[in-house]
């Protein structure tokens, strides 16, 4: 989770990602950020995020995003 928070902070240093629950709905993360974020996550966590999982529900909070990463890692195993 720490590594993910660091990546998110790189993108938007002004946002409190630990508490924010509507990153996409409030327009903090826009499509541009999401693709950049996916590239960084794939480098860091060695997972592939498929297009069907790029939904607001998965990207609205750091917690939901981390849950997606864990789920994808489990699938790989």
């Amino acid at each position: 989770m720490e590594a993910l928070l660091e990546i998110l902070k790189e993108l938007h240093p002004e946002t409190d990602f630990e508490t924010e629950e509507a990153l996409v709905d409030r327009g903090v993360l826009v499509s541009f950020d999401i693709v950049m974020l996916i590239t960084r996550i794939e480098e860091e966590f060695d997972v592939v995020i498929p297009a069907k999982d790029i939904t607001p529900e998965h990207f609205n909070s750091a917690k939901a995003l981390y849950a997606l990463i864990e789920q994808l890692q489990e699938q790989d195993d």
Binding site: V30, F32, M36, T39, E42
Partner: protein, 525 residues
């Protein structure tokens, strides 16, 4: 059947009572029959294309469901007897079959749209460049095809991704594809949001009917008082690019911005209001777009459903696709920044080129799309520069003046790009744009210039008052939905507002004998 025709109002007057008089279990059939009448009025050719889309998309989606089911059964049966690798191979086999079905169905539906949209233009290019006999002149878009094809493809891809199950009843899918209010100019809806609602039974609600009526009346108000009036002047300005230059172009930009907003949002208001009359919530397509502080924000608030469609089904899949990943990895030697930006930049430009192409076969649309992408990418690249500027002048961004400046800047920028939508050629559009910096002729504009555009001072006055009302309502909307506030004051108050809207349309609207209320601008896309 135009939204702005008496025939359409009669059609609604018969349909709405009928919808609530029949037993609830057949309400959806009444809607489907109404769709058939609406589509039939537009011509047999359009109906045939629509049936092809419904049949192919229905068959493909059902095929996906069957393949998913067989895949699960096969893999489950292999669990005890086969290795993990063998099960993976079996899964991949099913995936390949699904992909083949998807590609075939996409080829048919995108193919129809492509031929109708670009057939005539390709025929002209072929005759001019390859000296072949001209062909395709009779290929024209049929009503709503750009909108229902995209909605259908969205449904197809959602079933392909297993986000939603396939609809088992082809007629219920047909109702989603052909729902008549959406055929005029969208919005581009999703089956999981609209399809289930259309097929559900609905009871009549007086408050919902009144709410829908207010929205419909407001839509007609914008269309008949502002849009159709200003369109006369915009068309006159665009028709003579050699004459109307310099400051006339600036006037044209502003008039077109107001006209397009009133036309497109007015049409969507009517669509959403009609949806409410049938107990259906149609997705919003606008969120006060002219209050955006940047062009990328504007595109998240204007024609929202088209932007969401491209994001969901093109931009994200393309950005995370294998070729993009490979490209990103190969470009690492150019630096981490380049390798991370490359997929997102390429996808942005491609999606914007496609968005431009969706609007039409003219080169102006393609250039308009690419320029939008370029402006968005440039803004992204300039973010560090903005950040340094704001660090140097802290507190500036909090001021109302700065916010006003960013809003006006965005409106001027997107209006400049929209000149490509007004003129017949890219050259004319650029020439008109640059003339604003070389020709100062405000004197000519006000010495009878704008009176030569087919509108009287009274017309300009009515349109200007209309624009002020739209602006005031947008401002008031910031405190919450206006209709909710009107309805909270009771039925009498709501009916009075409704009558006021209808009354002002009757007095100030452009309609009636001798005047042809126009089709909606977005209907041509």
């Amino acid at each position: 059947m135009l939204f702005t025709s008496w025939a359409f109002l009669l059609f609604l007057a018969v349909l709405v009572p009928l919808y609530y008089l029949v037993p609830k279990r057949v309400q959806w059939i009444v809607l489907l029959l109404a769709d058939a009448v609406f589509v039939g009025f537009a011509g047999v050719r359009g109906a045939v294309y629509m049936v092809v889309t419904i049949v192919t998309v229905y068959a493909a989606a059902r095929g996906f469901d069957a393949l998913f089911r067989r895949q699960r059964e096969t893999v489950a049966a292999m669990k005890a007897t086969h290795t993990k690798e063998e099960r993976k191979k079996a899964r991949l086999g099913f995936e390949k079959k699904r992909r083949a079905v998807l590609i075939l169905c996409l080829c048919v539906n995108v193919g129809i749209l492509f031929v109708l949209k670009y057939g005539a233009a390709i025929g002209r290019l072929s005759a001019a460049w390859l000296h072949t006999p001209a062909f395709g002149a009779d290929l024209t878009l049929t009503m709503g095809i750009s909108f229902y094809t995209f909605s259908s493809i969205g449904y197809l891809l959602d079933v392909y991704r297993e986000t939603i199950p396939a609809e088992k009843n082809p007629f219920r899918l047909a109702l989603f594809v052909s729902f008549f209010p959406l055929l005029v100019q969208g919005p581009i809806s999703r089956f999981d949001l609209l399809g289930r609602q259309l097929n559900a039974p609905h009871s009549f609600s007086g408050e919902r009917f009144l709410s829908g009526a207010l929205r419909i009346a407001w839509g007609y108000w914008k269309k008949l008082i502002v849009a159709d009036r200003l369109l006369v002047a915009v068309k006159a300005l665009c028709a003579r690019p050699a004459v109307y230059r310099g400051d006339f172009v600036f006037v044209e930009m502003l008039l077109y911005a107001a006209c397009l907003y009133a036309d497109f949002t007015g049409g969507i208001d009517i669509t959403i209001g009609i949806g409410e009359w049938f107990g259906v919530t149609v997705e919003e397509n606008f969120f006060r777009p002219y209050f955006s502080k940047s062009i990328s924000e504007y595109w998240r608030r204007w024609h929202i459903t088209l932007g969401e469609w491209f994001k969901r089904y093109v931009y994200y899949p393309l950005s995370v696709s294998k070729p993009m990943r490979t490209l990103s990895q190969k470009s690492r030697r150019l630096g981490v920044g380049v390798s991370r930006r490359l997929p997102v930049y390429l996808a942005t430009l491609l999606v914007w080129a496609l968005t431009g192409a969706w609007h039409g076969s003219n080169w102006t649309f393609l250039v308009w799309g690419v320029l939008n992408g370029v402006v968005i990418l440039l803004s992204e690249e300039m973010k560090p520069l903005y950040a340094r500027f704001h660090a140097r002048f802290p507190g500036l961004t909090n001021g109302a003046c700065y916010r006003g400046f960013t809003v006006i800047r965005t409106i001027l920028l997107l209006s400049s790009l929209r000149l490509l939508d007004c003129y017949a050629t890219v050259k004319e559009a650029f020439s008109a744009f640059f003339s604003m910096f070389t020709t100062w002729n405000w004197g000519a504009v006000f010495r009878g210039g704008i009176q030569s555009l087919g509108l009287s001072w009274a017309d300009y006055g009515a349109a200007f008052a209309g624009v002020l009302c739209m602006f005031a309502l947008s401002m008031a909307q910031r405190k919450g939905p206006i209709r909710k506030r009107i309805l909270s004051h009771g039925t009498v108050c709501s009916v009075c507002v409704l009558l006021l809207l209808i009354g002002t349309i009757l007095v100030f609207g452009r309609y009636g004998f001798g005047f042809d209320a126009g089709q909606f601008i977005y209907n041509r896309f």
